[in-house]
């Protein structure tokens, strides 16, 4: 019977992680905590909303990189695993890009942004749950 053999595939799993001491995990953990505090601090700096968003996503990406590479051992793992991880983020970005491109460039009349919602009659809602889905919109 054919012996399964990953013919010509990836080099054997790097054993770097096997010999690393547990200390590296603590270093990564400290870095993650620091970045959490940083992202919190940055969000308190007065900036435009876009800058806040960009900064928050940038820091989140660094944290994801750290967790993926070290806690999840992607660093030194088989190339296929890195590829899978990268490709999945690529397709998330694709989905985000085209949907946002749509929302951002829509003909204004079809864009929900310009049509504010009708005000909600708060007095009704304080006392009773709306009986039907249409009730609060009236």
């Amino acid at each position: 019977m054919a012996t399964p053999h990953a013919a010509g595939t990836e080099p054997a799993h790097s054993h770097a992680t096997h010999h690393a001491s547990a200390a590296r995990y603590f270093v990564v953990w400290i870095a993650l905590l620091t970045l959490t505090v940083t992202t919190f601090g940055v969000s308190r700096i007065p900036m435009s909303g876009h800058m806040h968003l960009a900064a928050a996503i940038f820091i989140a990406c660094i944290k994801v990189f750290l967790v993926a590479c070290f806690f999840m051992h992607l660093w030194g793992s088989e190339g296929t695993n890195k590829l899978v991880f990268g490709v999945s983020f690529f397709f998330v970005a694709t989905l985000l890009f085209f949907v946002l491109a749509d929302v951002a460039t829509r003909f204004t009349l079809t864009n929900s942004r310009i049509r504010p919602l009708p005000d909600i009659d708060q007095s009704i809602l304080q006392h009773q749950r709306p009986p039907s889905p249409e009730a609060p919109a009236k």
């Binding site: 399964p4 959490t36 969000s43 989140a60 864009n111």
Partner: protein, 224 residues
């Protein structure tokens, strides 16, 4: 999965690894790679599963920037940050458990997993406190929305995204805790060794993924 009854205790103090499945016979390295690779592919599906919610967040944030700004300020920053720290720390203990299991130190791994599960439980408790608060305020999605402090249009849309995203994430926390419990029991029985630790590794990978999702959710929902 593997029949544990037939496995004997080695001198090093852990059970001998189960035999390689018949279709990988003679090539345990390929089997090891297959198991890890399969898990990564599964994680890719999880990432794409959450993608739709992030897209929803992006669209509604573009449509209703003021409402999202107001609503974010009404979330408890303290509870959110505490939860972030809890999850990050539980990721550390899971990574350490993996490290210990890989070196055959099953008991250490067991206790570390137990701590991780406890932190997962803590996360859920805090989440429950936050949810209770939202229900009390009427800061709820769609037709249940009755929160007077958000004046800009689109307030309910923030809470749709908030509850879907954190709810789906909480569901993943529960699944992750179950997986960790399952491997913790196997650690207690000293099943893992330098040549057989894939279940700890894969359960750990799942837990780290839950962490990854939260790393994005935390700033998007609570901070910006």
């Amino acid at each position: 999965m593997e029949a544990t009854s037939a496995r004997v205790m080695t001198a090093e103090g852990y059970l001998a690894p189960p035999p390689t499945p018949h279709h990988y016979e003679g090539n345990p390295a390929a089997h090891k790679h297959a198991v890890r690779f399969g898990m990564w592919l599964f994680l890719a599906t999880e990432i794409l599963l959450f993608a739709g919610l992030f897209v929803g967040y992006a669209v509604f944030r573009t449509d209703f920037p003021e409402a999202f700004d107001q609503a974010a300020r009404h979330l408890s920053l303290f509870l959110g940050t505490t939860n972030t720290l809890l999850l990050l720390t539980s990721s550390l203990t899971v990574a350490l458990a993996h490290h210990n299991a890989e070196h055959g130190k099953n008991r250490n791994a067991f206790w570390l997993l137990l701590v991780s599960i406890a932190m997962g439980g803590g996360f859920l408790c805090i989440k429950a406190i936050e949810y209770t608060e939202k229900f009390r305020e009427g800061a709820l999605p769609g037709r249940f929305f009755a929160f007077s402090e958000i004046t800009a249009p689109g307030g309910p849309m923030f809470y749709v995204v908030y509850f879907f995203a954190t709810g789906l994430h909480a569901l993943h926390v529960i699944v992750g805790m179950s997986l960790l419990t399952w491997v913790a029991i196997r650690c207690w029985h000293k099943e893992f060794s330098p040549t057989h630790y894939a279940p700890v590794e894969n359960a750990g990978l799942y837990w780290h993924l839950v962490d990854l999702v939260w790393i994005f959710l935390y700033p998007l929902l609570y901070l910006v």
